[in-house]
């Protein structure tokens, strides 16, 4: 699946800054390996919605859907129309913009 490579690249670039954890595998839990913190998941959601033009429902925002490369890939595959997936695999279409905008720079403070 093309988009699995794309998801791995996004996670590696944006959450690990090009330095994957040692032995990082597609089944590894983002939470357990400390790859995604409390707000980074929103960044991931924004990416999925913008890149694949899907709208995520609150009840879908659970680790079962997002907590590894493989889970993400499965979730995206299920949400995309079959023909879109096939076309994407074949590299024939580009879905949505590659850049997206989120506002705010927050974090707990003392």
């Amino acid at each position: 699946m093309v988009f699995k490579d794309e998801l791995r690249q996004f996670v590696t670039d944006n959450f690990m800054f090009g330095k994957p954890c040692e032995g990082f595998a597609d089944d590894d839990s983002f939470i357990e390996r400390g790859i995604i913190d409390s707000t980074a998941v929103m960044e991931l959601i924004a990416f999925l919605e913008a890149r694949y033009r899907i709208k995520l429902q609150d009840q879908e925002l659970i680790p079962d859907n997002f907590d590894s490369i493989n889970k993400l890939a499965r979730f995206v595959a299920n949400r995309l129309e079959p023909n879109h997936t096939a076309e994407l695999d074949a590299g024939r279409v580009l879905l949505g913009p590659t850049s997206f905008q989120l506002a705010g720079t927050d974090g707990p403070d003392t």
Binding site: F17, G18, V41, E43, P63, D106, P108
Partner: protein
Amino acid sequence: MCGIAGKFNFDGAPVAPESLRGMIRMLAHRGPDDTGFHAEHGVGLAHARLSIIDLAGGQQPMGNEDSSLWIIFNGEIFNYVELREELLRKGHRFSTRADTEVILHLYEEKGEDCVRYLNGQWAFAIWDDQRRRLFLSRDRLGVRPLFYTQVNKAFIFGSEIKAIFAHPGVTREIDVHGLDEVFTYWCTIPPTTLFRNIHELPPGHSITVDAGGIVVRPYWDNQFERESGVVAPSREQGYAEELLQLLIDATQIRLRSDVPVGAYLSGGLDSTVTTALVKKYTNARLRTFSVAFDDAEFDESAFQADAVRFLDTEHQEIRCSKNQIGEVFPDVIWHTEKPVLRTAPAPMYLLSRLVQKCGYKVVVTGEGADEVLGGYDIFKETKIRRFWQSQPDSRMRPTLLRRLYPYLQNVQNQPDAYRKAFFHINVDRNLQPFFSHLPRWQLTAKLRMFFSDTVNAEIGADDGFSKVRSRLPQSYSSWDSFRQAQYLETKFLLPGYILSSQGDRVAMAHSVEGRFPFLDHRVVEFASRLPVSLKMKVLNEKYLLKRCAAGLIPPSVLKRHKQPYRAPEACSFLESSAREYMEELLSPEQLQRDGIFDHRAVGLLQAKFRKGTAIGIKDNMGLVGIVSTQLLVHQFINRFESRMTPDGV
């Protein structure tokens, strides 16, 4: 308030006056009113003075009657009036009205134990000529700074590291362990600093230096008593009255000054209380100062206005934009002398500039109340996590996590499952002592991914927070996690960031002295004996202080939701002049030359900010930390000589 610097030659060789002059010039901002020197028998003392008490007679270095003792002193001893009377009764004769002379006579009377009698904020050095011994001390909570090094058979010290670097022969290298500490705990853990072989004297410690060597000793630490259970409502009033009396006295003695005293007014509970107390016990019209932000997310000016109206003060504010923060940030780092992960010191730097322009040298502030009386969100977070931990399968208990950080939209919006994962409760037995701080420290330590491979190799593997562990008192394990959290905040972050990077260093950059009634050691010790339920009643923070404050401050401030002091973060570097220096300092070539950060990782982080997709605390801390570290390297390692002008800075 002043700057001090000095040198002791272990072999007794005379100290060259020009080396002292070079050092003290670097501290001109701390003491613009006068400079003084004293050298004899292998020791040299230098002083830059900010005149506050006994304007005519308080010059330093100051000797005793027979010149057997000499002192240089940065700070204030607020109980000097009472100590002076006691010493007079014991036959001591005084030639000035200054608090400095009181320390000298108290040293004659009590020796090195003199520090136990002082109520104040200090860093001083006393040369005891008869013993050929130098005695240095720093106040209990670390309000005033003191650094030292040993090089070429000499002990060299100063209020700021830049004074030590001005001494010939002192090398300037980054200590990657200090860097790692900032990128984990948000501050260094003394004696480590950001520079190799430069040490910070920990708060509550003294040093003696003589031909036999250097001995560092503690004389005070914050000690909590065991939890004494729930307090009956009938007894709460008694505690509240006792706290109020202590705060009144702590404030009154902090008004002792021969120059006018102003006050910072943030719009929060703490500074409104201290301002109200100052107002109540001073006859002069009170001047207050505050920071307002262009960005409504950070702005508290509506509450500041309420306080000004209620307390009838003469008020001035600076309006702070992200561009201003970016513009002054290099100067801020010149003063903090360590990286910061937050830009919050920058508005405080701008505020002290306003105070200086208004002709004020002294301000009373509310610093310390959150640590001492239980105000921080991390205490609330700890309570909620412990409550949840006691029934891990509960569905309802983790929903309380939503009560945390109501002012942070991103945290509020995150899915529950992820909120639960971040504020986790399954903590290894070995890490239980740090239960309260693990989410913060583990998140921050992720920033190590930006360090170069060389730096990460030198730092070594994660050591389970062993440095902090080694500083904990024996009784620590008997305290509940709320008190443990209080200890960690008061012991490390308070002196290492709040009172230094966001306190002394950015205030003294403009010759402004802060005074902190909540950090009077009597208030701190009283609070340490208080049951936790009086600090945070259920989830109501600073409960006892609020009881004291009723009627003293406007109801709107008393009842408001706590909003921690925050400022625009990494976005401050994305426009105007800041962008220019950031891109230069963070260019792949510069990063490779300096060798601290991995240029590819930093490049990807910058790309996220350029795209506008960096929203998390980690990304923001990362960029602010990297920019501030690079500014530190630029100013202290690569180009330090250019800052050694005849006028200091």
